[in-house]
Amino acid sequence: MSATVVTVTSGKGGVGKTTATANLGVALAEAEQRVVCIDADIGLRNLDVVMGLENRIVYDLVDIVEGRCKLRQAMIKDKRLGNLYLIPAAQTRDKTAVSPRDMVKLTDELRKDFDWVLIDSPAGIERGFRNALAPADIVLIVTNPEVSAVRDADRIIGMVEAEEKEPPRLILNRVKPEMVRRGEMLTTEDVLDVLAIDLIGVVPEDDGVITASNQGLPVALNPRSKAGKAFREIARRLMGEEVPLEALQSPNGFIRRISRLVRG
């Protein structure tokens, strides 16, 4: 048994990497997968807050890498799901405390005991991003339907390709169907037109996400949340299930167009 390492990244900050990581972790764990989430944003940690585990942190990623604690000691068990763990980032250090090689070594150790290792990458294209990318088997790019976010996503895709990783897959986050209908927001089609990568999910804008983050209760736990449903579907697609992208079926046979773009 060996885990798949999934790195969630974006280039631009504030597009929803941490939210996506937390929700995918929760959704995979709910589907009875053994999951560990790693916060690779050293110095600006917040995956612990979004997952509601802040008050349980004793050791962190840098403590593991520098040998001050055992791997197991730094792993925080989720309070709701028994098969979900978090390795938090250090708050007081910076990204140079960890190297890409350290990350590969750490994830190799985790692989034998888990099904999924999710890494929340920091924004940017520097050391922290390199650390998060190094061990990845699958790279998920999170972006918003905004020109600047798409531009940064494109840059990141180029860098992932240069590392000779598998082509990354795209999560389009915070889509407002209303604005798209009025022609005021980039459509999924517009975004894929530039990025030309495989789409793994579209997450609608949902005010519940902010409330949920503040309370440390990821929306994937809420059966009524639209965003939560989208994240659960992305988790199922990660597990290899065929889940149709229902929200995207616009009259012009959009799905066909996407698959053409992706394969072409």
Partner: protein, 251 residues
Amino acid sequence: MSPPQVARYNRRPMPTALEIKGIGDGLLVNVPTGSWTEARPALLQAIDERADFFRGARLVLQLTDRELGAAELGKLRDALAQREIGLSAILSTSEVTQAAGADLGLGLQIPAQSQPEPLDELAPIDSDLIGEEAVLMRRTLRSGQTLRHPGHVVILGDVNPGAVIIAGGHVVIWGRMRGVVHAGAAGDETAMVCALDLTPTQLRIAGHISVSPERRGPGRPEVAHVRQGQLIAESWQPEKQKESRKDRTVG
């Protein structure tokens, strides 16, 4: 004839003449004639006018029979280094200059190409046709990626917003051109840019710069070039092509 599709908003003065030749992965530059006190600033000025093109390049200087000491060559090398240009070799018939170059650790001939010699089987069938060399790239150029080449550039794929192509010659894109492109970057006004969908963020040919006008609807193949001092883009017209093929039968 379709009207100009690219709005011209700026035109830079004609750059100072400079003879440049692409050699493998570097550039061969002829140092201007005249005394060294005139030639040296003239060379640097000509380079500065093409700063984009030269940045990061490896240079071989043709010095012919000019006599230069190690101090003069060393200063020139430092001036080039400040411009992010590496001086890799000098070509000279003067023994004094050659000795100075050797002291500085510079090569004295055109560096050997890293590419393997073409195979005999690949020799052109019709030797009357002499092609020009180009780089071909079969991929999408994404934001932040830059392609520089002293010769022509052919891309099979898209050039996304935020990507940059700088070529000494023509640029041909079998895809969408949405980034920044500079053809004839060393001053060649006859250079062209062709793309299946030509909507660059910015388009430059030699010293001319333009931006794409707002456009709606599907893209179409276009060719941009300089005509009578104006940078224009024209659509490729299949009708014209048909005319010239009329007498051929298609089975």
